[in-house]
Every structure is written in C-alpha cells, then in structure tokens.
Subunit: 383 residues, 2 copies
C-alpha cells in the first residue's frame, strides 16, 4: 500500500498492553494528550465528508493576574480532489469546495484560527520543473480569488484564516513567491509571510519557481493570539523558528508538503523541538495522498522517469511548549485536527525552563556575525 | 519501580508484530539501526561487570575521492557506585575503578573516542545547594587526578577520552566550572570545553555553583574525527549546537544528567534535531539511577523536603545527520553504547538537504543583533 500504516499512534494503541501504554506515551509524547469533546454534529459531518476529525486539549495552570487565554486552532490536511490534468480553474474550484466543507466543521468545533496546507489551491507540481500550467495557480495575496474566498470564510465564521498559496506579486514584475496570507476574523487581510528557506532536495525543485522570502519574520496579533507562519522547509532551520518567537509568536504554523522516503523520520522531531526551544506551540501540517502528472520526470537520483513524487504522509500534529504533543492525523486520509490550548502555558514553561533567559543571544549574534565572513577561521584545536 | 520501563525500544520490540515493527521503526527512528558485531570477550566482560553493552553502525555511500572515515565512539552511562556520604576520595576512586572496567570493554570493542557522563566523578549534588563536601569533587582540568587517570587510559588504549568534570580553575581565583576535558589518544590534554548554558530549573540549582562557560565553541581535531562537547542543558539551545557545527564538529557529545519527570519527553527530540539541523552526529549521554542525600532539600515546587532529585533515566543514544538514530541504552542500568559511523555521511547529507547552504545566516546575524537590543521593537502586525 502506498501509504503504509494508518498512523503510528493507532498502531501503538492497538498493540502495546495498557500497563505499558501510558509509559510509552509519556516517553514518546510527554503523556497522554487529553481528548477534546467535539460536537456530534461535527463528527457526523466529518464522517459524511469523508475526513478524519480529532480534538485535543492543552491546559495551563491557573494564574492570579491573567485569565486563561484559550484558543482553538484547526489544522487541515487534504488530498487534491481532481486529477492534475484537469483545467486549472476547475481544480481550484474543487479545492475551494473541499476546504469550505472542512472549515464548516471547524466552525462547528469552535475553531478560532484555521490553517491550510502549503500551496493548498494546487497540486504540489514543482517536481515537474514545468512552468505551464502550474504557474497559473499563482494568485495575488491581497486580492486574488482565493484570498477573497478566505475573507468570506473568515467573516462568516469569525475565524482567523491562514491561507498558504503560490503568490503572484504583480507590483514586482509578476514574481512568484511561496506565501501564506493571514486574514483576520473581521475578514481583513492582515498581511502575508513568505517562505524564508527554499529546498533544492530531490523532487522539491522549488528554487526553479521562487526565491527566498523577503518578508522576514512577521508575527500577526489576532484577537485569539499572536501567530506566525513558518512555511515547509523553514522547519529545518532552528533560527527561522527562533526569529518568529523573538517577535512574539505564541503559535507558529508550519504548512508543509513532504513525502515519506524523504522526511518522515524528521517530521516528529523538528517542529516539536521548535516548540520546546522557543516556549511556544507549533502546528506542522502536511498534505496527504499521491499526485500523478501526465509528463514523466526524473528525480536527480539516477532513477527512471516517473509520474509522481511519492506519498504525502499527512500526520499533522500540534506540539506544546512543555514538550508534549498530540497524536498525528492519519497518514493517508484528509483530516481536521482541532486543538484547544491555553496560551498561558507558553510563559509558564518559559519561566520554568528559562531557555530564553539563558539563551546568551548577544554572544550568538556576535559569533554568527563572525562565522558568516567569507574568511572566517573556525575555532579548531589541534594537537 | 523507580525506573519504570527498561527501555522504550525493548517494549516496542516485544509487543509490535513483525509486519508493523519495521514501519514503526522507520517512522520513529528513521529505520532499523544496523547491529554492530561485538567481540564475545567484550560481551562476556560486560555481563560480568554488570553493564549493558550495545553496538550499532551508521554507514555512508562510497565516494571516489574520499575513503570512508570510520570511527567508533563509546558512550558510557553509569550509576554512582557508593552512597553520597562516603568520603570524597573514596567515591572518586570507586568511580575511577568503574569507568576503568567499562573503558577496558570499550577498548576490546575498538572504540576510538569515549565520552563519560556529565560530572562523572561525583554524585549530581547540585540539588542540595550545599557547598561542602560537593565542591571538593572539583579538580584542575589540566592536571587533576581525574585528568591524569584519563591520560593513562587514553595512552593505554590509543583512545580519545572526553572527561566531563567539575573544574576548579586555580588561576582565576579558584572559580568552579562545569567542563569537559578532551584528551588525545596520545595522552596529551587537547583542551577543555565549558558548559555554555546553566540551568535554573527545579532541583538543577547549578547557577549556585558555576557560571556560563567562557570557552566558546571549541572543536577538537583528533586523529579519528573532529569533535565537540555540548554539556547537558546546552542541548536545549539550538544556537549552541549550531556554533559547534559552524566550527566544524562532525560529532557532538552531550554529556548530561537529567531526570524523568523533568525532561524525558524532550530527550529523544533535542539532540536528534541538532544532528538533523547541523548535518552531524550527536551523542547524548545521561546518567542512571537515583542518588540519595543525607540532608533533605526542597525543590521550589511547594513540595515537601526530600532526599533525592529523582530517577536519572539513562537512555543514551546516537543520532545521525540523516535523521536516524540508535535505540537508547537502558533506562535503569549502567551501559556502554558502541557506535561505528562513517563520518562521510555528514557531508553527503549536507549536500542532499542543504540546510547550511540555505541557512541565510547573514540575515540571522543581523536579525539577532537587532533582537538583543534592550529596546528592540518586534515585528508585530495588528489590524
């Protein structure tokens, strides 16, 4: 089977005896994630809509001077509903419909901030290295049809929407970017965050299409919390997470598109490490399924030309600042993960572990400034 | 039982059916670690000496211009053999004997570089906040009895020895440091690396005893590879790992002392993330067992005074640059983990994933320099 295991967590649940399971979960996940009670209407709508729906809660201790700051985030992972050689406009429309369906359920679940997967309005076609028709999926971040669609959703459901798209930047010569548009629950476009690090790995030929982002590390202060978006490959760069955190992000979304053979062993590690290191919540999202292309392409590994880049393994999850995490969504199915979190946990963990306080960032600013010099002399001690 | 599960990995092996186990290991560990064949003499000596002995191999692809650069590292985790109220010199002597026994087995296994746990010549007494007798365990890094002991081992077995101790710095007013002494296989002291980040977490009252290290991020070019030492709490700081890597470390040891309730969910994440992010091998080592103190102490959590800081959960492991890792040593027993690695894997993975090339470190040097200013204005976007 293309996808393999349905999920690691369901496999552990099925086979590890109860007397050991709690300990296994403590070591692997920081404990048993508390289940969130979801409305029956949402569960049945998800079943009808053929997508997984899971809910979890992260709590914080009560404080005297701050009330709990409860927010519910929704992470959406999905397959492309139509073949990649369908007309562009028809593919986009089908994706809009699919997302509309899932966001409706998110709304029933009381989600305040929803985030979709990377380049959600299109197949992840960068493996082909072809320009047309794929670049036709690019849209204006400010007023493209997808942004307008998301603005409607945001207003209708009083929900912040994070919409990662392929962006066409008309005012700079029509340049393409990989960007996430952040839309306030009022429906206003708050701004955008462009992908800071671009892969050149295997089939991820993305530097053929767009360059490293120039929007820095913006953080969006929404009614529900201060959020940021670290797109896909940027999860491999600890400094990228750090700067979002330095700017004050308490929730960092990581909309992604990545496949099993390349990165599955890294997936549970990197975003979770970022949550720990930066005392914040991180929300990695990966698409699911296998996408086929009419024209065969090679992968730079000496192998034969082929028509797909492999299986996107889903497994979207949320990691908390205390090192715990939710189970992952399915490796093979569309899904919506609803996670309620008390943002007070961020400062509580920070005050306990003190990684920021003990970070010695002045030293590293100096060291890094030295290290990037072309003739930097490393500190190597020889006999 | 104080320790709980013997190890996460043995629990998975025991209960997950074979048809799923390979997939579980691929997702959790990046695949089944290849076992290293160890000499029968070593296995029986370990059994006799009552410590676990495990061996694994990480391979790299053959190259045309570089020969494989094979190195065997040894990670040692151990309990303190005597009660903490035994005379200081007697405790140190017993630890020397225990380590001698384990290093002899490491030598039979062909280990080239061995590393011991943090502050290995003493109980991890910083929880007490008492000065005497604990500060009497401090020694000169350059010519203390423990360094001399390690020099003998290094010469006898042609082995690089990494010896983390509590250091007494006589030429700077007798200051204490938490340091690792690196001894060449020739027996010469190559230098030392002091702990860069000091915890103030629960019972880890270490800032009462020593300050943040001032040796920067030295890297030691040994006959067997270029190594560095990131001591304990420094594993929570991604920039610390980064700077060791920037200076050229291909193997970063992380001698530690940490307990289950505090950090066990973080343990498999942070050093492994560092191996991935920096295209190098990382070797986290944790002590085992529970250490009891005559005088009760409190933990700053409102709880009652008590005589131990909890169970050190061992679980030492090695993580590779490709995201894979070995199983952990026991959570409860002394152990020696022997890992053979081809250091060529570091550059091979770097050339594949390109995290260094795409790191945009110039941008981060600037950003970090701005961010550390007292009146830094974060990049926050509001409606």
């Amino acid at each position: 089977m293309a996808g393999g295991l349905e999920s690691l967590e369901s496999c552990l649940e099925q086979h590890i005896p109860p007397e050991d399971l709690a300990e296994v979960k403590r070591i692997l996940y920081g404990g048993e994630a508390r289940k969130l009670n979801l409305p029956a209407a949402a569960l049945s709508a998800a079943q009808e809509g053929d997508f997984e729906l899971q809910g979890y809660v992260f709590e914080a201790a009560p404080e005297q001077l701050r009330r709990p700051r409860i927010v519910r985030v929704g992470l959406v992972q999905n397959k492309i509903p139509l073949p990649t050689d369908t007309a562009v406009a028809v593919q986009v429309a089908a994706l809009h419909r699919r997302i509309e369906e899932i966001v409706e359920v998110a709304a029933i679940c009381g989600v305040n901030v929803v985030c979709f997967q990377e380049a959600w309005t299109m197949p992840f076609a960068f493996c082909t290295r072809e320009k047309l028709p794929w670049t036709e999926f690019a849209e204006s971040a400010e007023d493209g049809p997808t942004t307008k669609f998301c603005q409607e959703l945001a207003k209708k459901y009083n929900m912040v929407v994070v919409s990662p798209i392929l962006e066409r930047d008309e005012i700079h010569g029509g340049t393409l970017w990989n960007a996430a548009v952040v839309i306030s629950n009022s429906g206003a476009v708050l701004g955008k965050s462009r992908k800071n690090h671009i892969p050149r790995v295997g089939d991820f030929n993305e530097s053929t299409y767009y360059m490293e982002g120039n929007t820095g590390h913006p953080v969006f202060q929404t009614q529900f919390g201060t959020i940021a978006v670290n797109i896909c490959y940027g999860r491999h760069h600890p400094l990228n997470w750090l700067m979002f955190s330095m700017n004050g992000a308490e929730i960092i979304f990581n909309p992604s598109a990545t496949i099993g053979t390349l990165s599955e062993a890294l997936w549970p590690i990197e975003a979770r490490n970022a949550a720990i290191a930066n005392h914040c919540f991180t929300c990695p999202i990966n698409r699911v399924g296998t996408e086929y292309y009419k024209n065969a392409f090679t992968s730079g590994d000496g192998g034969k030309a082929h028509h797909d880049l492999g299986h996107f393994y889903g497994s979207s999850y949320v990691a908390a600042p205390d090192g715990s995490r939710t189970p992952g969504l399915s490796r093979t199915q569309d899904g919506l993960l609803v996670v309620e979190m008390d943002l007070n946990l961020c400062r509580q963990v920070s005050d306990k572990w003190n990684f920021k306080m003990t970070g010695r960032y002045e030293m590293y600013a100096d060291k890094l400034t030295e290290a990037v010099q072309p003739y930097f002399i490393p500190n190597i001690i020889k006999e």
